[in-house]
């Protein structure tokens, strides 16, 4: 059970949480749902891949760890640059003219189109595998020998890297938001714009910091997702829905909620589509083991689970589990 649900759930949940954090920050400060977020993630992952290839060509690697980790800082820097440039060229105008949120949303669709085209133009629409580290840190057979249990447990290296990175990032982010001046000014601006302006907070600076954090988070989330699965430009558009769902389920505009939402979505996706055959075979008396896979929902409907949860939360508690901003 832990093999196919808990470990991947943790990894997938961390990826969603990092993505949702970006969406939620942009929502909190800039007050719109950023449809281009998936493509920003994709862009970050793409830059990291290109740098990884360059490093690999020079024979530089990190031993058992994937080379992509070495390339990640460059990817983050370029993604941040991209976010700042789009803000300067595109979003700033609408901020100055105080446009409605829904116009922002359409603008972000335009950005999504442009980035999507750019990414496919640079790297092509195909699958790219760039994980060159060790594949498993614990193999199923090794686990059996160690514990003497008759079921194996395998942990992929990329999964543990994902979880560890996510924990570090989240700690740094919360330290930043709660302890530093810049982080506090960001939260103040997100809570009450007018009051923040009155107390002398520079809105352009807050927006800039937000984009920097968003770019970094998006690049890390995209790279981790690419390491864990593989990198395909079009999957990031599909990831948008679970990411939005995570942000809203946790309470949009609330960073803590985004993380919780990410894990809620990831685990429910896995548990609902999990094949309970083996579990039931253990629990039920011998001879009663079911014939089918006993899935609540076939695996293909994974994405619909996030939507179901979204709908339930919208109907019952529109502010989300952790009471973010009511939409």
């Amino acid at each position: 059970m832990s093999n196919f649900a808990i470990v991947p759930g943790l990894a997938y949940g961390s990826q969603l949480a990092l993505g949702a954090l970006g969406v939620t920050l942009v929502y909190g400060v800039l007050r719109f749902s950023n449809f281009a977020h998936g493509e920003i993630m994709s862009f970050g992952a793409m830059v990291t891949i290109l740098v990884t290839w360059a490093l690999q060509a020079r024979g530089i690697n990190l031993g058992p760890l994937p080379t992509a980790l070495l390339a990640l800082p460059v990817g983050i820097a370029i993604t941040i640059g991209l976010c700042l440039v789009t803000d300067r060229l595109v979003y700033r105008y609408y901020r100055q003219t105080k446009t409605q949120p829904v116009t922002y949303l359409i603008v972000s669709v335009g950005v999504m189109f442009f980035l999507g085209g750019l990414i496919r133009f640079i790297i092509g629409p195909n699958d790219q595998v760039f994980n060159d580290g060790t594949r498993f840190i614990m193999k199923a057979s090794a686990f059996k020998e160690m514990t003497g249990l008759n079921q194996g447990l395998a942990i992929k290296a990329s999964q543990s890297i994902t979880v560890v990175t996510a924990v570090i990032i989240v700690c740094v982010l919360f330290w930043f938001l709660n302890k530093t001046r810049a982080g506090k000014s960001m939260r103040a601006y997100s809570d009450n714009e007018d009051l923040a302006l009155l107390s002398g907070i520079n809105p352009e600076r807050v927006v800039m910091i937000t984009w920097i954090i968003t770019g970094a988070l998006a690049c890390i989330a995209g790279t981790l997702y690419g390491l864990d699965k593989s990198y395909k430009p079009f999957t990031f558009l599909q990831l948008l829905l679970p990411i939005f769902a995570s942000a809203i389920v946790g309470g949009i505009g609330n960073p803590f909620g985004a993380i919780a939402g990410g894990f809620v979505i990831a685990f429910s996706e896995l548990f609902v589509t999990f094949a309970y055959k083996k579990v039931l075979a253990y629990l039920l008396p011998i001879g009663f083991a079911p014939d089918g896979l006993v899935q609540l929902l076939s695996t293909d409907y994974k994405f619909s689970v996030s939507f179901m949860i979204l709908v339930i939360v919208l109907l019952i508690k529109p502010t989300g589990l952790f009471s973010g901003r009511a939409l």
């Binding site: 669709v109 442009f114 919208l314 939409l327």
Partner: protein
């Protein structure tokens, strides 16, 4: 320039472009583009009803289009009696159970408003029990249906009615789905509707891809009946042969041009009807009320208008129009391929059309559909030619040149993004602005 002259010049320029394609490439290509332009125009009219009249952002155009396609399959394909015999009744019974349990769940939810926390548990239990009953009944039926000659059929088939009838059914399907989505997401903030519709459209596509008993899934349904004659039959007709001879073109080409022209006539008549209806609605008191709600919800609700209900109404209407266009698209293709529905192509491209054309103005929506579709198709040859020109100085076997040429097709996504951004920034009113009334 008066508005009327401007509209006229825009449309004649569009016509000129199509004629140029006809002369430079071939008339077949020009007519293919024209047919899809017409369908796109109907879709943009549908989206314009939602966005231009009421300011609702629907990010699920793809889903409604696909539902229209599903209608084309269900209405027109002949039934598969073996499959019905194998598991039809069982599946239908299971689906009835599913429907009944949804009904019971809704009633439970409504009747237990003051039960506190127990309300959630009770409703949840009803849903879970209903789902279990449905799955137990349906699963063997579906397995039996899909086992019937999976290479050829493996699905229930449809009713075998004329496919034109499917255009209306497609509208009805889309309207039904829109009603459910609207009930959930309308009344909350605008972003929620966008995300909810994005979600429902993805789910519709997953459903169509995976429920093989209904749609054959990724195995596709080919050879849908057509509302117009087949090329092969035309080629043996005498009048085609004389016409082809007189015009000096091969008979095969002449027959396919005739087929495409008859499609174009069908689509054009639907476009005109939808256009006339939406213009009339826009000019009526109902249209005035919708604009009042869009421009100032609070004031409109103070005047006693039921905002949520009106939004639901307009959302359902717009989605129905999109569904009709979806059924027409599947009719034109002659096949239903669930895997071909991509959000960029079927949702966001339609949005570019509406914004560029001019939101709130039906004529604008139509011209937007024409222009954007034209450049979406022609961007590929133009982009290739451009790349060829840019890279002409490079070595023929240079890796960069090769890469650029290979990926030139993706330029059109970038171009569309750029067009949308530029339109929003410098001409937010679009090609044909809404204008004062």
């Amino acid at each position: 320039m008066t508005p009327r002259a401007k509209h006229l010049s825009l449309f004649s320029m569009m016509l000129l472009l199509l004629i140029m394609v006809g002369l430079l490439q071939s008339w077949n290509v020009a007519l293919t583009i024209l047919n899809l332009c017409l369908i796109s125009a109907i879709m943009t009219l549908g989206v314009n009803i939602q966005w231009g009249y009421a300011g609702l952002f629907n990010a699920g155009v793809m889903g409604f289009t696909a539902l229209g396609g599903l209608a084309a399959v269900i209405v027109s394909v002949p039934a598969v009696p073996e499959a019905w015999q194998a598991g039809g009744s069982r599946t239908m019974l299971g689906l009835c159970f599913g429907g009944i349990s949804i009904g019971i769940a809704v009633v439970t939810w409504l009747k237990t408003a003051n039960w506190g926390k127990n309300r959630y548990w009770l409703t949840g239990a009803v849903v879970a029990a209903g789902y279990a009953v449905m799955r137990v009944t349906v699963d063997p039926g579906i397995a039996a249906i899909e086992a019937v000659e999976p290479a050829k059929t493996g699905f229930l088939g449809g009713f075998g009615f004329p496919i034109l009838f499917a255009w209306l059914v497609g509208g009805a399907f889309a309207a039904g789905a829109a009603w459910v989505v609207g009930k959930i997401a309308l009344g909350l903030r605008s972003d929620y509707l966008a995300i909810a519709t994005l979600g429902i459209s993805e789910i519709i596509i997953y459903f169509l891809k995976n429920e093989d008993w209904l749609t054959r899934g990724v195995k596709n349904v080919n050879g849908l009946p057509r509302p117009v004659p087949y090329e092969i039959d035309l080629q043996s007709a005498v009048w085609i042969q004389t016409w082809a001879e007189r015009l000096g073109i091969p008979v095969i080409e002449a027959s396919s041009i005739v087929v495409k022209l008859s499609y174009a006539a069908l689509f054009l008549s639907v476009l005109l009807v939808v256009f006339w209806l939406s213009e009339t609605a826009l000019k009526s008191p109902w249209g005035r009320m919708m604009r009042a709600i869009r421009d100032n919800e609070i004031a409109a609700s103070a005047m006693g208008k039921d905002i949520t209900w009106r939004h639901l109404q307009v959302f359902v209407l717009g989605s129905a129009v999109v569904g009709i266009a979806g059924a027409m698209l599947t009719t034109l293709d002659g096949q239903f391929t669930p895997a071909s529905y991509q959000p960029l192509r079927f949702t966001f491209l339609i949005w570019v059309m509406v914004i560029v054309g001019g939101s709130g103005n039906n004529l604008g929506a139509v011209i937007g559909g024409f222009v954007i579709w034209f450049f979406w198709i022609e961007a590929e040859p133009i982009g290739l030619a451009l790349m060829d020109l840019i890279t002409a100085g490079m070595d023929t076997d240079s890796a960069l040149r090769h890469h650029l040429m290979e990926n030139a097709a993706h330029m059109r996504l970038m171009t569309m993004g750029l067009v949308l951004l530029l339109a929003l920034r410098f001409a937010p009113q679009g090609l044909i602005p809404e204008g004062k009334r």
